[in-house]
Structures are given as C-alpha cells and as structure tokens.
C-alpha cells in the first residue's frame, strides 16, 4: 500500500478485526479494515449507523483489543502492546467520545475534567492547570460561569464541548473525533472546526473524524473512508469521493444528504431521496 518513496504514515491501520463478546458468541464489528493517515492529515470515516465506526475508533486508541491486525502509530504497533507499555503512549492518541455524557466523570466539575489530562502531562501547579483548563473551555465556547458545574448540569452540546476540551488538553498527536460536533449548532460547530484546523496548522496534529454530516466531513478532512458492515467499501480524497462517489452506498449517502440550500417546496416532500439500491436493505 505504501510506496517506497513516500514517508512512513503516521498512523497505519492494517487488517484490523474487532469482535465483541456476547452471550450468543462473538460479533464481528470491524472486519479487516486497513488505511493509513500521514502526519498532520485528517481522515474522515463515514458509514451507516451501526457499521462499526465507533468500534474502529475505540480499537485505534486501544480501548478495545483487536482480534487481529495492527495499529501502527508513529512506528509502534499499539495493538500488540500490553496495557503497561501502552500507558505512556496513551496521551498521544486521544478520542472524543460519541457519548458525551457517559464519558464524563459525574462527580467532577467541568474544569477538573479538563484539568485532569494536564496533570498527567506534567503541569504540576494547580492554579496553572485551572488556568489552562479554563482557557480550553473558553476556546470551545463554554462560558466561564459554567466551569464549576458537573456534567449533569450541562446541555448536550455543552457536554460534547467539554469532551473536546479534555481531549485537546492532552495535546495529542492523534485525535479521534467520534461525532464530536453532532450536538452542536452550526455556528458553534464552525467555531470548533476552526479550532481544530487552527490546531492542526499549529501543531501538526492528525485527525480521524467520524461524522455523519458530509458537510462537516468536507470541511475537516482531506481523505475519507466509507465503511459498511465493518468493511471499507470506498476510500479516497474527500473532495473526490463526495463529488463522485462510486460505491452504491456512498452514492445513496451523498444523495440523502440534506442541503438546506437545495431543498425546495413544501411538505410533504419526498424525503426518500434515496434510491432503494443504496439503503442496503
């Protein structure tokens, strides 16, 4: 896959397989997925709901142990590492969770949640940590008055932003965003996307973005892969894939994407702008 001349990819996922154990036996959620992302690149993962995107994301950051395959981050295969060997590398690969509420420790205030990774990063001074956390929260658009609140006291979008701030606080080299902006209104979303791009320009951070909104995908990613039922069915430059998708599913996806500017007319409308071949039913 890699040309000999090209620089080694920053993240290479090779033949990744992830199973879930269920009482009824293992369920394969990710099925021989391979791709790679260069340093400073950003790759979008799109696909049908339930196709294994989150699973893939969790396997990349090694919250799940893959059945087989490799996740090579900057030359190190994370998949094979023991928890202890992995721990020092953890900070480099962070993730924003799809479940913003569940992934926040309910007994900590927003500020402490964001300050936690700073402590790990070696910021010893408590006041300094608070200041940094406050700044991060500010950057994702959370008001200063909200810093002392606990997760239960926030709106959905605000929780999501706390999750983003926490992930950024680690100053990772790789950030996996699992639907990180799905609960944000478009203007805040734009603000967050700006922030991510800005950071990328500054620090060369690499993104893997899971999103359903193709507009967001287009804005943030340079490349994309399309998953279906745990397998990669299409990949390429984002612009190209969005402009002329080849796989029937991708085409259906593209067709179903709603562009407010493009919708005309009154209800009832043909919402089923999807051709039957594309829904996969």
């Amino acid at each position: 896959m890699n040309q000999p001349s090209a620089p080694p990819p920053f993240l290479a996922v090779e033949d990744l397989v992830v199973d879930y154990d269920t009482p009824a036996g293992p369920v394969r959620a990710v099925d021989h997925v391979s791709f790679d992302v260069p340093r400073g690149g950003s790759l979008a993962v799109v696909g049908e709901s339930g196709c294994g995107k989150s699973t893939l994301a969790r396997a990349i950051v090694r919250l799940l142990k893959p059945v087989s395959g490799r996740v090579v981050l900057d030359g190190t295969d994370l998949a094979a590492l023991s928890e202890r060997r992995l721990r020092p590398l953890r900070r480099r690969a962070q993730m924003v969770f799809q479940d913003p509420y569940g992934s926040l420790d309910p007994h900590l205030s927003a500020e402490r949640i964001v300050a936690e990774p700073l402590r790990l990063a070696g910021v010893r001074d408590k006041a300094e940590r608070r200041r940094c956390a406050a700044e991060l929260l500010d950057r994702v658009g959370l008001p200063a008055s909200a810093r002392e609140r606990r997760p239960a006291e926030f709106s959905g979008g605000q929780r999501q932003r706390i999750g983003i701030a926490r992930a950024l606080a680690s100053e990772p080299d790789l950030l996996v965003c699992d639907e990180a902006t799905s609960a944000l209104d478009v203007s805040v979303q734009a603000q967050v996307l700006d922030l991510l791009r800005e950071l990328q320009a500054e620090t060369g951070i690499t993104y893997i973005v899971i999103a359903h909104h193709l507009g967001v995908v287009r804005e943030i990613s340079t490349d994309m892969v399309v998953l279906k039922a745990g397998r990669v069915i299409e990949r390429g430059r984002t612009a190209a894939v969005l402009a002329s998708p080849t796989d029937p599913y991708t085409r259906a996806l593209r067709r179903a994407a709603l562009d407010p500017a493009a919708i005309r007319g009154l209800k009832p409308r043909a919402a089923t702008a999807v051709s039957p071949e594309g829904t996969g039913k």
Partner: protein, 283 residues
C-alpha cells in the same frame, strides 16, 4: 384522528428557571409557540440556549425541585404548568419524547425488548408479551434496525449510538402519540438512515396527523420537515416564522450567522460519471 381545532401544543410565555446551587438560572425566558395537528414546529438555535429545557418543560420532565415553570403550556388542551397531574396523564398517551442523548436514555439493566414492550403495553394494556414482541419487532424494523428479532433480548450497551437513537424513536412511536417531541432525533444517524427515519415520521404525520415539536441542529432537516421554525438564543426566540422564510430570508443577525455557518456539501456528480481516485489508494 381526533377532529380537534385547538392546537395540540400551545405554549404561551413559558419561562423556566432552574434553582441550582449557584443561584437561579433562567434557561427559558418567555417563549410562545403552538403546534397544531399534522404540523411540525422546529426549534433551532445555539447550543445551550434552552431548547431541550423547553421540550422537557412542556412535558414537565424537569425535576420538580429544580425547575420553576411559569406561563402556560397546554398539551392537548391540558395545562401542564398549572397541573402536574395533567402532565402525568398526557405523557405516553397524548405526547411522547425522543430524548437528546440516546446513550444514557435507556435503562442499562433492562433489555431493549423489555423497555419497548413496556412502552407498547402501557399504550395497549391488553397486549400479551408475544403480541408486544411482535409489534415491537415491527417497529424496530421500521426504524431500520436489522435483525430486530434477535436484538429484542439484547441490552443497550450492545448497540451503537445511532441504533439506540432509532430504538428510542421506536419507543416514542410505540405510544402512538398525537404529539411527538423530538430532541435532535437524527443527530447520530447517517444520511441514508436519517432519510429513512424522517420518511417514516413524515409518513406517520401524513397518515395520523401527529404534531411534532422538533429540535435540530441540522438546518437541512429543519428545512425538510418543518412548517415553522423558531430560532432560539439565550432562552428566547430571536426569530420565528415559516420554514422557507427563515431559511431563505432570515432577518435576525443570529439566524444569518447560523445559516452562513452551515457546512457546504459541495457539488456532486449525481450520475456517477466523473472518476476519482480508485479504491485502494487512500491518499
């Protein structure tokens, strides 16, 4: 379908204040709107502006010790602000809710079948377990959960976020409500499934005249399904109007900012003629 001229939901000057440890927060500051039969009214607006609070307030689901409601909110003619009992009566019958955060909205220790079945049997007390299961699987199928039969006995943590969201939609529909309050019902769904679900909802609206109060960030969705849109910011409506007008001729600066911020999808080759990087080279 009840031939009732009065709106399904009539909110007037609704104000919701949250009494927190840090003082009183006014989350919703005097909003008024109505949702009539067969109508879809959409709230869009800033994150944290009070959309969910409004929705929950209308259902009187905010903790009694936390929220102080004032104004009126009549659901099917009954004012739930004045009478908490009325809210209890209408919930699960006249009105049902699709909550915002699907991952925490289901009891983790009960199977989804149990929770969906319960919802069904609340609506139809006579239903046997088997019948409930039969209807339930059909509902799951309608929201495009594959293999609903085998998934009936699985637990929420075994589902993806989008699947849970669809299950919650199925549960909300199980109540066969006259009014559906949907808080970002498709935010975790990909476009094809979203289309399917919206189709289902619109079809339902067509058939039964269900009224919908919808909250969404996706202006595309808002544009598609809404009759009226209210733009919310800091607890108030900054702009209200028919969907087309809001999307096409926004007057308030905030609405304009919002519309301007919508990520563009870009052009595409609908016929699939242009070629692009072939499969296999991801760079």
């Amino acid at each position: 379908m009840a031939e009732d001229a009065s709106p399904l939901l009539e909110v007037e000057d609704l104000q919701i204040e949250l009494v927190t440890h840090r003082g009183v927060v006014r989350a919703v500051d005097g909003v008024s709107f109505t949702v009539g039969q067969g109508e879809t009214v959409t709230l869009i607006g800033e994150s944290g502006s009070g959309k969910s609070t409004t929705a929950m307030g209308v259902l009187r689901l905010l903790p009694e010790g936390l929220a102080v409601l004032s104004g009126t909110a009549r659901v099917g003619g009954e004012d739930v602000v004045a009478d908490p009992e009325a809210a209890r009566r209408v919930r699960g019958r006249t009105v049902s809710l699709i909550p915002q955060d699907p991952m925490t909205a289901l009891s983790p220790v009960h199977t989804i079948g149990r929770q969906l079945g319960d919802a069904l049997r609340l609506r139809h007390p006579g239903l046997s377990r088997a019948e409930a299961r039969e209807r339930g699987t059909r509902l799951l199928d309608q929201v495009r959960i594959s293999e609903p039969g085998t998934r009936w006995k699985t637990y929420p943590h075994q589902f993806s976020g989008g699947m849970l969201q669809r299950i919650l939609i199925a549960i909300a529909l199980a109540a066969e409500p006259r009014l559906l309050v949907a808080d970002e019902p498709t935010s975790a769904l990909d476009a094809t499934v979203q289309a399917g679900v919206l189709d289902l909802l619109l079809d339902l609206q067509e058939r039964t005249g269900v009224g919908m109060l919808m909250i969404t960030h996706d202006l595309g969705v808002a544009r598609l399904v809404s009759d009226r849109i209210h733009v919310m910011k800091e607890g108030r409506f900054v702009e209200s109007g028919p969907a087309e007008r809001i999307v096409e001729r926004p007057t308030h600066p905030y609405t304009r900012t919002l519309l301007a911020a919508v990520p563009a999808l870009g052009p595409w080759d609908e016929d699939g003629l242009a070629d692009h990087t072939p499969l296999g080279a991801a760079r």
